[in-house]
């Protein structure tokens, strides 16, 4: 009992010093079970590879430069699409959130198109734009747009009316009210929308790459299926999960801590 407590205390202190430990440790049992099942001979190795095989494949594909290239392609597509989605989504969300008329006109249309999932657009997009970047970008922008618009609307509506009034009575013009009050007030919600949007966009991208792609992580996985390489498929899946964790933990979470949580708008 005493030793267990000491161990626990050591673990808590270690994770406090090196937070990455807290990320890695929960995966130890997952990888261990995977390893045991793979090595038990229950399934053929070519059908169900072990962690070591995937690791080896990771090193070899990285060394050849294929994995970094594909990863870069996927990320650039996602960032490009997300940037357009943000540039369209935030202004649209502010408009709908602050104008009752715009809300009445746009809201039903918005919900209608939100229901048509990203992938459902692919058949018509392939006819219109063919197998290329335009189709991929369209799908990502489409996927990213809705969570951002909906969250921005919510964010704008959640800003207390007295804050805008206070700014006005201190001499702020409508543009200054937008910049000094509406935007920062809506920011925690906008970040939530961005997080959801990027998450959905990332998944949509992989789906689109499988169908449309000539490169990228999704393409790598589907191409591996053709070659019957389960190792590369699993590697692709692990890359997807890891990458998202990094984006979330290293980019989105720090932004949240520096804004909404710091201001007391969101309780941590």
């Amino acid at each position: 009992m005493n030793i267990a407590l000491k161990f626990w205390s050591g673990y808590v202190r270690a994770t406090h010093r090196w937070p990455i430990i807290a990320t890695i440790v929960p995966f130890i049992p997952v990888v261990a079970i995977w390893s045991i099942v793979a090595n038990s001979g229950m399934f053929p190795r070519a059908f169900f590879p072990a962690p070591v095989d995937v690791m080896r494949s990771f090193i070899s594909l990285t060394y050849k430069g294929i994995l970094p290239d594909y990863l870069q392609d996927s990320l650039i597509r996602l960032l490009f699409g997300a940037a357009i989605g943000v540039a369209l989504g935030i202004p649209l969300g502010i408009l709908i959130g602050s104008s009752r008329l715009a809300h009445r006109i746009c809201w039903p249309v918005l919900l209608f198109f939100q229901a048509i999932g990203d992938i459902a657009w692919l058949p018509i997009l392939l006819i219109w734009f063919g197998f290329g970047l335009t189709t991929m970008t369209f799908v990502i922008v489409y996927t990213v747009l809705f969570p951002i618009v909906l969250s921005t609307v919510l964010g704008v509506q959640s800003v207390h009316r007295d804050l805008a009034r206070a700014a006005q009575s201190l001499g702020a013009s409508p543009m200054r009210v937008l910049w000094e009050v509406t935007l920062p007030g809506a920011l925690p919600n906008i970040i939530t929308g961005l997080r959801n949007g990027l998450g959905y966009g990332w998944r949509a991208l992989i789906a689109v790459e499988i169908i449309v792609g000539t490169s990228g992580i999704g393409f790598m996985m589907f191409d591996a299926r053709r070659a019957g390489s389960t190792v590369e498929i699993l590697l692709g899946m692990i890359v997807l999960g890891t990458l998202w964790y990094i984006v979330d933990a290293w980019i989105l979470a720090p932004i949240e801590r520096a804004t909404g949580q710091r201001w007391g708008l969101v309780t941590s």
């Binding site: 009034r165 700014a167 009575s169 000094e180 201001w263």
Partner: protein
């Protein structure tokens, strides 16, 4: 000189659910001199907050006139500083940035507006809190910031809408005493909306009693300043005036 003048002010609006016109403010005329502290009391629904919102320019009026230094009010503006019951501090700005917001909107350079803000923070005994965020302060401290933020912009009129209603009773008394002290130092023109009769009498030079969208009566308060609760609570004049106002409000 009249700083604020309400002439036959009226507010009606259409209630789509009832399908009829509702009168919030019937007919209110009121003149406020420069440097005067006027409390407005009345039972809930008497239209006091509506009047304040119209003076502030937040909602349009449907009849009569509102004049500030002779100019017709057409919308919100920096000549009317507002202190809100909800404090309405900007959570993403430090205390210093909140107080410097008005000067910033006027284009005052950062050094100068920081100096102004610090001066006003000192006035409210808040110098130590300059770099904190509003959510790190107690309710009483937040409203002190709310008051000096409005004052730092040098408004012609300070409009206060039940500003101390959401703090605890002890803090409220302290805030009331501090407000009378600050008023004596700076002599701003103040319209103070409240439903608390003792508060109205304690703070003001004049108490206006509203009822059903009209001015029922006005009472001059000639109590000596500085006003301190420990002394006034036993003061015969204070008791008499409070009782008088209370009677009117209850009959209203």
């Amino acid at each position: 000189m009249k700083t604020l003048s309400l002439k036959n002010l009226r507010k009606t609006y259409f209630d789509p659910y009832a399908g009829s016109q509702v009168t919030a403010v019937q007919d209110v005329s009121l003149d406020v001199e420069q440097g005067e502290f006027v409390s407005v009391v009345g039972p809930s629904g008497c239209g006091k907050t509506t009047i304040l919102n119209m003076i502030a320019g937040f909602i349009p009026y449907t009849g009569g006139e509102i004049l500030i230094d002779g100019n017709l009010v057409k919308g919100p503006g920096p000549d009317r500083g507002v202190v809100f019951q909800s404090f309405a501090l900007f959570p993403w700005k430090t205390v210093l940035e909140n107080v410097g917001f008005g000067p910033k909107m006027r284009g005052v350079p950062k050094d100068e507006r920081d100096r102004t803000a610090r001066e006003y923070l000192a006035l409210a005994g808040l110098s130590h809190a300059a770099d904190r965020y509003p959510n790190e302060l107690s309710g009483g401290m937040q409203q002190r910031v709310g008051v000096v933020r409005a004052l730092a912009n040098n408004p012609a009129v300070l409009l206060m809408d039940e500003p101390f209603a959401s703090v605890d009773a002890q803090t409220r008394m302290t805030l009331q005493e501090e407000l009378t002290r600050i008023w004596q130092e700076r002599k701003p023109t103040v319209i103070f909306i409240t439903h608390d009769v003792a508060e109205a009498v304690f703070l003001a030079n004049r108490v206006v009693v509203l009822s059903k969208g009209r001015v029922l009566d006005q009472i001059k308060v000639d109590l000596p300043r500085p006003r301190v609760w420990d002394q006034l609570i036993e003061d015969e004049t204070f008791k008499r005036l409070s009782a008088q106002v209370l009677q009117m409000v209850r009959a209203a």
